[in-house]
Amino acid sequence: MSFQPIKFYQTGTFTVGNRLLPDNERSVQSTVRRTNSLNSGHRACQGCGEALGARYAIDAAMEATEGQLIAANATGCLEVFSTPYPETSWQIPWIHSLFGNTAAVATGIAAAMRVKGRSEVRVVAQGGDGGTTDIGFGCLSGMFERNDDVLYICYDNGGYMNTGVQRSSATPPAARTATTAAVGPTPGNVFGQGKDLPLIAMAHGIPYVATAIVSELRDLEAKVRRAMEFRGARYLHILVPCPLGWGHDSSLTIRMARLAHETGIFPVFEAEGGEVTGVSRIRRQVPVEEYLKPQKRYAHLFSPKPREDVIRRIQEAADRNIRKYRLLEEA
């Protein structure tokens, strides 16, 4: 069978209709090859972006490794909602040890596989933004620096959600959390220096670093597949909207992810050996208000007194990303 090279975009997205694609290019999620590694029945909130991201990523990793996968999981929503024993959603060998040591646990598993000559078995470590950018940062950096054969996936929902939505170093400026209340002259989170973990990962010079969003399923899967083509430390940072913590309707999870990308707030790119090798461009830059407004964590920016000054600063950061990653330019 031959295929006509076509460009076909569903309304408002770059998502190519699956059925128009040759078999090997279809998303894992849309085929019978899907392993349901994170099976249904878990206790995530309705519309949880983290549950979605984990299912996409781990199923893709399972496909890439032909089922030879072991996962280490940090404490956090994903761990808690997936394993209220005796129930477990995991169909793969999976271990939860602690909040801050997941990268190191994965290093240990990888070392065990190496010493046992089981090089076909690959290791994924996964955790939330708190477990990654804050408490697990030391172990993660150590794993990068040694270039251990681990794919680390961070599910970034911009806060410590499992403990009731507190601020992490990945919480965006101005966002309200339980520890950055929307009160006083500068409501919500501070405008700090940020802690751009994908860039920090790249600075380690590891073979592969990528960011992804749950609204671009095939892109996300392709990045997992690509990551699995490398040996050594790899890092995938997935933005996962959290209806509970962000205060958006649970039907808007995919839209929020897409808007994060199209506003420039969350650049989607990949990098090899510390250099950016590809970016997901946007056709039309969306003003940040469209992303901020549906989220209650930003409600104080719109009422009772609109905070155009704050919104402008958020817009400036998005503009910087668009310039920096050339998100609007033609390839």
């Binding site: 089922g67 793969i92 040890s97 801050g100 190191a104 240990g108 065990a112 030391g138």
Partner: protein
């Protein structure tokens, strides 16, 4: 084979004979020579089929060991003092997960004030973490205990700490009898993990457990650890048969027959205590020694039997429960049929303070005479302490305690010279 080597080297070679598959290394005195030696053995190819991982912290060291053990590899690390505290969360985790990791703790004081010398406060901070805790009296015993530790760990699916006194043992060059690979292989069966992460048989490990079963998980951890009390004595005999010497076991009694006073202690100080006891015995005093090798699980019945004939117990311990007194003595009290008042606590050797035969003889005699206070700090410089207390009474802003004491020590020294 007889060798004249450093204690750390002896332990490293013994660990290598146990065929570890993953070793995690992070430096801290006085443990460092052990992992240095192992690193050399791995890099030089003498220890093959082993991954040696230089990690970025002790927390990572224990965590890598957790991952490796969960994936079915025989795992080892070593630490001391601040390092043990830095990994504490993972130490408990390894026990809770039931992972057979072996770790050497080269015992050292805990800061502040920072102090690199020997005492037992590091391991005592973790005494109830779920690990089996073994204490070595000599370098020979230290190396032997590691071989037993690996066997114990994998038989019970529990982690084991082997404690050896920092510097006193780790840095002492002594003659040791290093077993052959064949001997160790015969004693230590290959690792057949009870639970393992394997794509062929997927399991979830480390899941959340609520009130409905958490008590049971802990109960089983306790039961499993208590099983060591049944295994260790028989294995000590097997060890004697296989290696031709006594090492390990739950405890060692020395001249306790007919003893009215029994001194209880852990680790290398037992040597000094035995010498002191010999001298006192020569003077006709009825005194003996009980060395505790296995501190966790606590061998309550065996200790009770060993102490049964004594009138009084003197516990010499290199640790202190601030606000209470003795830690070891609190354990001993649970296993002594005599009156609790007749169990004396002697806190000794903190931060590397020498424990001399003279001072020991003095407190033992005082115990026999009934004049020893329930809690004694061996060779405490009372003058120094009084000056510090006076300073605190007189001035609100009396400054940092340790620095004040050192200043006093300096003044005293200056006056003497």
């Amino acid at each position: 084979m007889l060798k004249q080597i450093e204690g750390s080297r002896a332990v490293a070679e013994a660990v290598a004979l146990c065929r570890p598959e993953v070793i995690c290394a992070y430096p801290i005195s006085p443990q460092t020579h052990i992992v240095e030696a192992l690193g050399e053995l791995v890099k030089g190819g003498e220890l093959s089929s082993c991954e040696f991982i230089n990690v970025e912290s002790e927390f990572a060291a224990m965590s890598v060991a957790i991952g490796a053990a969960a994936a079915g590899a025989r795992s080892y690390t070593a630490t001391a003092s601040q390092g043990l505290l830095f990994m504490a969360e993972a130490v408990y985790n390894a026990a809770g997960l039931g992972l057979p990791i072996v770790m050497t703790v080269a015992n050292r004081a805990i800061g502040a004030p920072i102090n690199i010398w020997n005492d037992h406060t590091d391991v005592m901070s973790q005494r109830d973490c779920g690990w089996i805790l073994l204490f070595a009296e000599t370098n020979q015993e230290a190396l032997d205990l590691h071989i037993e530790a690996f066997r114990l760990a994998q038989a019970l699916s529990l982690p084991v700490m082997v404690c050896m006194d920092g510097f006193i043992l780790t840095h002492a060059y002594e003659r040791v009898d290093m077993p052959s690979q064949e001997q160790v292989d015969a004693f230590l069966p290959p690792f057949d993990p009870r639970q393992v992460l394997d794509p062929a048989r997927p399991v979830s490990m480390g899941a959340m457990v609520g009130p409905e079963a958490f008590m049971e998980v802990r109960y089983l951890e306790h039961v499993r650890q208590m099983r060591a009390l049944e295994l260790i004595p028989g294995w000590a005999e097997q060890f004697r048969d296989a290696f031709g010497r006594d090492s390990g076991g739950l405890l060692h009694a020395y001249r306790t027959e007919d003893a009215e006073t029994i001194v209880v202690a852990l680790g290398s100080v037992l040597g000094t205590i035995k010498d002191t006891v010999d001298e006192m015995r020569a003077r006709g005093e009825r005194i003996g020694v009980l060395g505790i090798t296995c501190f966790r699980p606590w061998p309550a019945n065996t200790v009770r039997d060993a102490l049964a004939g004594a009138k009084r117990i003197v516990v010499v311990e290199k640790s202190i429960a601030v606000g209470l007194g003795g830690i070891v003595s609190a354990n001993v009290r649970t296993s002594f049929a005599g009156h609790a008042d007749t169990v004396y606590t002697v806190v000794a050797g903190l931060g590397g303070r020498s424990i001399t035969r003279q001072s020991l003889a003095r407190v033992f005699a005082s115990a026999a005479a009934g004049t020893l206070p329930p809690l004694t700090f061996l060779d405490l410089d009372h003058g120094l302490v009084e000056r510090a207390l006076a300073r605190e009474r007189d001035t609100r802003h009396s400054g940092p305690v340790a620095e004040g004491l050192l200043r006093d020590v300096g003044l005293v020294a200056a006056r003497i010279s």
